[in-house]
């Protein structure tokens, strides 16, 4: 776990923040949420586990209670097809303060599309956090597709990370944060 995250709100500046969301991999503690590490009060649970605990047939009362307190978010694995579970994600808008998308390895770009879909298709307004093998050189791409928080791999230099977001003053395709430079200029002129 990284004790700090980089937070970069859509219309704000990137900065360091304390990390209060523990990521649970869903593997340990026989399928129930483990005791959290010291300092953590909230937990990101695997989306597939949430689905097993929150369905028409079965609702985990403890989970719902904690979710109602704002202590539960979900994280999407690279092979979660979020478009197949649109109803759950729509319902999650009222329940999850934070969602995350996982990078099993830095060079796996599936979570870029996950974040883009969450923003574009689902209109997700809350935080989307990048977790897993998140390295300095993915930050800018991640920030453009829809991520606004990054829990980086613990060996990454956060100060160097903070400098990645303004490397380019020009973009040539639209992104979650802004329209491409040409369109911005023509909109201004119009």
């Amino acid at each position: 776990m990284n004790k700090h995250i980089i937070r970069f709100p859509k219309d704000g500046q990137p900065s360091l923040a304390a990390n209060d969301w523990q990521v649970w991999d869903g593997e340990r503690d026989e399928g129930s949420i483990p005791d959290l590490e010291h300092g953590f009060t909230k937990v990101l649970v695997p989306f597939h586990w949430w689905r097993s605990q929150y369905s028409a047939h079965h609702k985990n009362a403890d989970l719902i209670e904690r979710a109602n307190k704002g202590e539960i978010g979900v994280w999407f694995a690279t092979d979660d097809d979020i478009l197949k579970h649109a109803d759950i994600i729509e319902a999650g808008k009222a329940l999850w303060p934070v969602v995350a998308a996982h990078f099993p390895i830095f060079r796996d770009g599936r979570s870029f599309s996950t974040a883009a879909l969450l923003r574009d298709r689902f209109g997700w307004q809350g935080e989307i956090r990048a977790i897993g093998d998140v390295l300095i050189d993915q930050l800018l791409q991640g920030a453009r597709v829809g991520f606004d928080a990054f829990e980086m791999r613990p060996d990454q230099n956060l100060e160097v990370g903070l400098k990645q977001f303004d490397l380019f003053s020009i973009t040539t395709q639209n992104s979650w944060r802004q329209k491409r430079t040409l369109l911005q200029r023509s909109l201004l002129e119009a």
């Binding site: 060079r107 574009d120 791409q141 395709q173 430079t181 040409l182």
Partner: protein, 570 residues
């Protein structure tokens, strides 16, 4: 050709700064090699057998004299005095130092060039027809769409880490000169009934281990909505393309697994949500780009007949000049003009596609003297002066001869496409260049080559197929067996409108057998051809059997696997 404005220039300058920082972090050890690797690849930097290799983009094959001089400068100052033009309209420098690459990129940025996305699992340099804008058979000039999509794909964040590399080719002519169907996405431009520019989209083509021709998945896409349609297509691939096996990660495997109809349906489903958004191109964007692809200041000239042009040469040189006109000069849209191909395939002296510093500088001069200061790079690894006055062809031929780029072998057996192979590339299983050299030396008789006519011979040093062996009439593929270099022969491949993947004829050969094998195959053609029938047509008429029998006629060694299985059986 396209000229950068401050937007384009700022972007490439900032990309150089970003890469300079990445290299610095690699050098000071804070960035591990394994994690630096995809970053350097996305900027065209490979680590090869002997040194780093930098692949520089020549977007859709267009190059100015000034840019070519900068490439010469880089070859001179940072490399060993030459560059290698590739099958995807790039140039490669084989001997660069890691710490100097940011400076090389800064030199490139000064002349509106870069190495962005020339490698890596991202949208690669977009290729097109080397004769765009001048070809006699063109119905749409593809260059504005090429440039719009170059910009759209540059540093696209969502598609920065695709399952595998992703190659676009764009064609707007009757004859396909882009190998369109062997690309991840092929975009065929045309006009619809209302005279509007639309595109047919082919997906899932590729060479490599599993060669597949692309399938038509969507017709009549208006040019404006290409960004949203391609976003939908790439999003489906990014989400569902295989990542568990490097050899099954290209989009062709996904399209094949789903079937083209199902793949098209999924893309359509995704596109429905985004097709009306402002990702799409605007008229203002079209205008900004298209203003650079106007016709140069052609003179009003009357067309000259070939006889008239030939008659201008001294008598002793006429037959040689006529040959060059026949093979290396192509028809032009504008009366009195022609396009000239400078052959980078001298017989047996240098690697196919190589040009020295002196040649690059001289060719830059020639382009200014004879062709409005512009050049094109063909996917066959030659250079084109696209706009030459017919009355200047003789002068140009004489000047080109001095630079050893006037061999009249375009489209002939010795116009070999070859990758750098095992001499340089760390992926290669076998060398390509000595094979190309041996074949060129064996067939060094121009009379004979002319008599044989159109034959393509393509050589790849490994199954990655950079030498496009799958679509050569004769394909040669280097394979490794127990640490030895062997070569597999395919026949019947073809590029163009009748694109065909060649068929493997049987067990592979040793390197020193290849010239004899090619000779035997060619002799079979000569023996059986009817009138003006081309090699590939004869092959199609007769089938593989007579060619195969000839190829193995005096094979002195058998494929090891065969020998082993035979001895096991006995």
């Amino acid at each position: 050709m396209y000229k950068y404005d401050t937007i384009d220039q700022t972007l490439v300058d900032q990309r150089v700064a970003q890469f300079r920082d990445q290299v610095a972090r690699r050098m000071n050890g804070t960035l591990a090699e394994e994690e630096f690797r995809p970053l350097r690849l996305q900027n065209g930097l490979y680590h090869q057998r002997h040194a780093y290799m930098l692949r520089v983009a020549i977007p859709y094959g267009l190059l100015s004299a000034k840019q070519l001089r900068t490439l010469a400068l880089i070859a001179d100052k940072y490399d060993r005095g030459y560059g290698h033009f590739t099958t995807r309209q790039n140039i490669q420098f084989n001997w660069v130092e890691l710490e100097q690459t940011p400076d090389i990129l800064a030199e490139l940025a000064k002349v509106e060039m870069h190495a962005i996305q020339t490698s890596g699992n991202c949208i690669r340099n977009i290729t097109s027809d080397a004769f765009a804008g001048v070809a006699g058979d063109e119905y749409i000039d593809p260059r504005p769409i090429c440039e719009l999509l170059r910009q759209w794909s540059t540093l696209h964040p969502e598609f920065a880490h695709l399952p595998r590399k992703f190659k676009f080719a764009i064609n707007g002519a009757k004859e396909d000169r882009t190998v369109l169907l062997c690309h991840d996405v092929g975009i065929e431009l045309k006009k619809n009934a209302k005279d509007e520019l639309v595109a047919d989209i082919y997906a899932g083509g590729g060479m490599g281990r599993t060669p597949i021709l692309g399938s038509l998945i969507k017709q009549d896409v208006p040019w404006q909505v290409l960004p949203s349609y391609l976003t939908a297509l790439l999003r489906v691939y990014n989400r569902f393309g295989r990542r568990d096996n490097l050899y099954k990660a290209r989009i062709k495997i996904l399209v094949k697994a789903l079937g083209p109809e199902e793949f098209a349906r999924q893309v359509e489903g995704e596109w429905t949500h985004i097709k009306n958004g402002d990702d799409n191109f605007t008229q203002a964007e079209w205008d900004r780009v298209t203003m650079h692809f106007t016709k140069p200041a052609y003179k009003q000239l009357s067309a000259l007949s070939k006889q008239h042009i030939v008659a201008g040469a001294p008598e002793a040189e006429r037959s040689a000049f006529a040959r060059w006109l026949e093979r290396n000069v192509k028809p032009h849209q504008v009366s009195g003009y022609a396009s000239v191909i400078l052959s980078l395939k001298p017989h047996g002296t240098v690697a196919p596609g190589d040009a020295t510093v002196a040649q690059m500088k001289a060719i830059a001069d020639l382009s200014e003297q004879y062709s409005f200061g512009e050049l094109r790079v063909t996917h066959e690894q030659n250079l084109v002066l696209a706009d030459v006055e017919q009355s200047k062809l003789l002068e140009l031929w004489q000047a080109a001869k001095k630079q050893h780029v006037a061999l009249p072998n375009i489209g002939l057996l010795t116009d070999i496409i070859a990758c750098p192979g095992g001499d340089f590339c760390s992926l290669a299983n076998a060398k390509s260049l000595p094979i190309a050299k041996a074949i060129q030396e064996r067939f060094d008789n121009l009379d004979y080559l002319f008599d044989l006519g159109d034959i393509s011979l393509n050589i790849s040093g490994c199954i990655n197929s950079c030498g496009h062996h799958h679509v050569g009439n004769i394909g040669v593929l280097g394979v490794d067996k127990d640490g030895e270099e062997w070569y597999q022969i395919t026949l019947g491949g073809e590029q163009g409108n009748d694109a065909t993947i060649g068929k493997v004829i049987g067990p592979s050969f040793y390197a020193d057998e290849i010239p004899d094998v090619i000779t035997n195959v060619i002799n079979t053609y000569v023996e059986h051809r009817a009138d003006d029938e081309s090699f590939v047509d004869t092959y199609r008429r007769l089938g593989v059997t007579p060619f195969k029998e000839a190829a193995y006629k005096n094979a002195k060694k058998k494929d090891k696997a065969e020998v082993k299985s035979e001895s096991a059986a006995s």
